[in-house]
C-alpha cells in the first residue's frame, strides 16, 4: 500500500495539468517499512526526453542521483516515481513495464484534455511480466 497525502496528490495533479500536453514526472519521496510506503513530498524531474515529450519521459542517472541525495539529506528515500499520461488512461503502458524498476511504486495520473483525471499506483511483478495494482490511500 502507498499513502499519498492529499496535498501531494494536488501537487501532482497541478503538475500534470501544467505540463499538458507533455508528460510530467517526478520522484515520490518518503518512508517505507513493512510493505507500506508513506509519501512526504515530491521532487519533480525535468522531462529529459529530447523529443516526443507528449508520449515519453526520461530521467537520467545524474538527475536521479541528485534527487536521491536531496531525499537522503532530509532523512527520506525515493520510494517511487509518478508520471502523467496525457489523453491516456491511468494504466501502465508496455513501455512503462519494460523500463520499470522493481519495488518502486509507479503512480500514474491520467490527464484528459488538460484536466487531471484518475490516479492509480502500480508495482512491477518480480517476474517483470506485469504490473500489479497497488492500493493508493489519500488521507
Amino acid at each position: 500500500m502507498i499513502r499519498v497525502p492529499q496535498d501531494v496528490v494536488e501537487e501532482i495533479r497541478a503538475q500534470g495539468a501544467g505540463s499538458y500536453p507533455e508528460e510530467c514526472c517526478g520522484a515520490l519521496v518518503g518512508r517505507a517499512s513493512d510493505g507500506l510506503k508513506s509519501v512526504v513530498l515530491t521532487r519533480p524531474f525535468a522531462n529529459g526526453n529530447p523529443d516526443s515529450r507528449e508520449r515519453r519521459y526520461y530521467v537520467g542517472p545524474d538527475a536521479y542521483r541528485e534527487a536521491e541525495t536531496w531525499a537522503r539529506a532530509q532523512g527520506l528515500d525515493v520510494v517511487g516515481i509518478y508520471h502523467s499520461h496525457p489523453d491516456h488512461p491511468a494504466r501502465p503502458s508496455e513501455f512503462d513495464r519494460e523500463h520499470a524498476w522493481p519495488w518502486y511504486s509507479y503512480v500514474i495520473l491520467s490527464v484528459e484534455q488538460g484536466k487531471p483525471g484518475s490516479m492509480t499506483s502500480w508495482v512491477l511483478a518480480d517476474e517483470r511480466d506485469r504490473f500489479d495494482p497497488e492500493e493508493l490511500q489519500c488521507p
Binding site: 529529459g48 515519453r56 526520461y58 516515481i81 512503462d96 522493481p102 517476474e127
Partner: protein, 480 residues
C-alpha cells in the same frame, strides 16, 4: 580485489535489505557478475534477455559513469566503489530504446547554447565534462571562475582555501552571500555551485597551499587557475605548475587594474620569465591594504574562466605569451608580448630550480614575521585601553590614509599617513610615548621602524590595528 557495490533502494529487497554488498572482481563486469551470482533474483532486473545491462541501469565507478570509462572492462582499484544508479523512463509511447549519447538529455538541454556553436558542439561539451580544473582561492577571482566553470559544465572543479567568509569579502566575492558570513568559504562555495550546476563535481581542499602539498594536489587536475592575492603563493603556484606540467591561468587585481595571462604551457613563458624576482616585501600593497574595485575581480576572473575553457576546448588563441592589462578607470585593455626566458631558473634551458622552495623566505616575508614576533614593542588593544583609562599620557599616531581616517579613528589620535611620516618627524617628540596604529597592524609596524631609526625609543605598535580595537575593546568602532 574486494569491491563494494552500492545498491539502489528498489533493488535492496533482493539483497536482504542491504544498501551495499561486498563482492570480488578485477573489473566492473566481474564485480557485477559476482553480484548476480550471489543474488540470482537481481539478474533479470539488471540484464536484458540478450545478456546486456538494461538501458535504464547505469553503473558508476566512484563518480564516473562507466559508459565514459571502459564500460564493463573498466578496471577496479582498491577503495573503488561501484554504484548502480537508476535512470527512469516511461510513458504512453511505443516501445523503443534510445541510443546512448555521451551526454544525457538533461545535459543537452542545459548546455544547448554551447552545443549549437561549432567551436564547442557535442565534442567540446564532452571535453568540458571530462576536464578537471583546480582553483587556488575561493575569493574575488575564484568566485567568477568557479561560478562560470561550473555553469559551463567543467566536470570536476577543485578549490583550495582555508578562510571563512568575512563581511568585507561580500563587496566582490559574489559566490558567498550575506548569510554565509562566518562560514568556511569552501562550504559556502560548494552550496552555491551545487545550485548553479548539480551535474558537476566539486572537490574542496580546506588547507593552506604549501610547498609540501602543492605538487600532489596539482597532479590530480588538468589545469590550475591562480586566484591568489599574495606573492609567495603566486610563485608557489607558478613553480608547481611548471614542475607538474599544468597550465597556470593567472589573474591578479589591485585597486582599478587587473592582469591576466596563461603561463607554464609547453611552449609559453612562466610567471618567473616575466617576474624573476618578487618585489621587496611590503612595497606592493595587497587588496586588503590598498583596496580593490569590487567588480574588477569579476572582470579578470571571468577572463580567466574564458581562458580555461579555451584551453580545454583547444579553441581560439589563449593568452600564452601575452600579458593582458585592464584598467577599469580608463576602460582600456592592452596586451604586452611576453617571451619565454631561456635563462629562466625554472623553465629555461638550464633550470636550477627543480623542487619547490620556501616562498615566504623568497619573498622576504619571514624577516617581517620575526620582527612582529618581537613583542617588546607591541601593545594589545585591551592593555592600551587600560592605560588610557588610567589617564596616562600617550600620543596615538594614526598612520592610515585620510579616507580611512574618515571611516573611524581612535579618540585624540593624530593622523600622519605612513608615506608622509619620514618628512613629518618634526611634528612628534621623542619625549612622548607614542602608540602607532593602522587598520590591522602592518603599516604601523613599518612606522615603528621609521621612528626607531630616527631615534624614537618610547614607541609601541597597536597589535591588530584599529580592527582589533573594534573587536576587543569598542564595538561601536566599525571594522572595515
Amino acid at each position: 580485489m574486494p569491491v563494494k557495490i552500492l545498491i539502489p533502494t528498489p533493488l535492496r529487497s533482493f539483497v536482504g535489505g542491504l544498501s551495499e554488498v561486498d563482492v570480488e572482481g578485477q573489473t566492473v563486469g566481474d564485480a557485477l557478475r559476482s553480484l548476480v551470482e550471489r543474488h540470482g533474483q537481481l539478474k533479470k532486473h539488471l540484464y536484458a534477455e540478450d545478456g546486456k545491462l538494461r538501458s535504464f541501469v547505469n553503473v558508476y565507478v566512484n563518480d564516473e559513469d562507466v559508459r565514459y570509462l571502459s564500460q564493463g572492462e573498466t578496471k577496479l582499484g582498491e577503495k573503488d566503489v561501484v554504484s548502480i544508479v537508476p535512470s527512469v523512463a516511461g510513458g504512453v509511447g511505443p516501445s523503443t530504446t534510445a541510443s546512448p549519447l555521451p551526454l544525457s538529455a538533461e545535459e543537452i538541454r542545459r548546455y544547448s547554447r554551447h552545443l549549437i556553436m561549432p567551436e564547442v558542439g557535442l565534442q567540446g561539451q564532452v571535453k568540458l565534462k571530462k576536464a578537471s580544473v583546480l582553483l587556488i582561492g575561493a575569493g574575488g577571482l575564484g568566485s567568477p571562475l568557479a561560478l562560470y566553470l561550473a555553469a559551463a559544465g567543467v566536470g570536476r572543479i577543485g578549490i583550495v582555501d582555508f578562510d571563512v567568509v568575512d563581511e568585507s569579502n561580500l563587496q566582490r566575492q559574489v559566490i558567498h552571500g550575506t548569510s554565509d558570513v562566518g562560514r568556511p568559504k569552501l562550504e559556502s562555495a560548494r552550496a552555491r555551485l551545487r545550485e548553479v550546476n548539480p551535474l558537476v563535481k566539486i572537490e574542496t581542499h580546506e588547507m593552506r597551499l604549501t610547498s609540501a602539498n602543492a605538487l600532489d594536489l596539482f597532479r590530480g587536475y588538468d589545469i590550475v587557475a591562480d586566484g591568489t592575492d599574495n606573492f609567495p603563493t603566486r610563485y608557489l603556484v607558478n613553480d608547481a605548475c611548471v614542475l607538474t606540467g599544468k597550465p597556470n591561468v593567472y589573474g591578479s587585481i589591485f585597486r582599478f587594474e587587473g592582469q591576466a595571462s596563461v603561463f607554464a604551457t609547453a611552449d609559453g613563458p612562466c610567471y618567473r620569465c616575466l617576474y624573476p624576482e618578487p618585489p621587496p616585501a611590503g612595497l606592493v600593497p595587497s587588496c586588503a591594504e590598498g583596496g580593490v574595485l569590487g567588480v574588477l575581480p569579476g572582470i579578470v576572473g571571468s577572463i580567466q574562466a574564458a581562458e580555461v575553457i579555451k584551453l580545454i576546448l583547444g579553441a581560439g588563441q589563449p593568452l600564452v605569451g601575452r600579458l593582458l592589462l585592464f584598467d577599469a578607470l580608463a576602460t582600456t585593455f592592452r596586451t604586452l608580448k611576453t617571451r619565454k626566458d631561456p635563462n629562466c631558473p625554472l623553465c629555461g634551458t638550464n633550470p636550477t630550480i627543480k623542487h619547490l622552495i620556501d616562498y615566504e623566505a623568497f619573498c622576504g616575508i619571514e624577516a617581517e614575521w620575526v620582527n612582529a614576533a618581537a613583542g617588546e614593542f607591541e601593545i594589545a588593544p585591551v592593555d592600551l585601553k587600560k592605560r588610557i583609562d588610567r589617564g596616562e599620557d600617550l600620543v596615538l599616531l594614526d598612520v592610515r590614509e585620510p579616507q580611512e581616517w574618515e571611516i573611524c579613528r581612535l579618540k585624540g589620535a593624530t593622523l600622519i599617513p605612513l608615506g608622509r611620516l619620514p618628512y613629518a618627524l618634526g611634528e612628534l617628540s621623542t619625549a612622548d610615548e607614542i602608540v602607532a596604529y593602522c587598520r590591522m597592524g602592518g603599516r604601523s609596524r613599518k612606522a615603528l621602524q621609521i621612528l626607531q631609526e630616527a631615534g624614537f625609543r618610547k614607541v609601541r605598535n597597536l597589535t591588530g590595528g584599529i580592527n582589533a580595537w573594534a573587536e576587543t575593546v569598542d564595538p561601536s568602532v566599525p571594522r572595515y
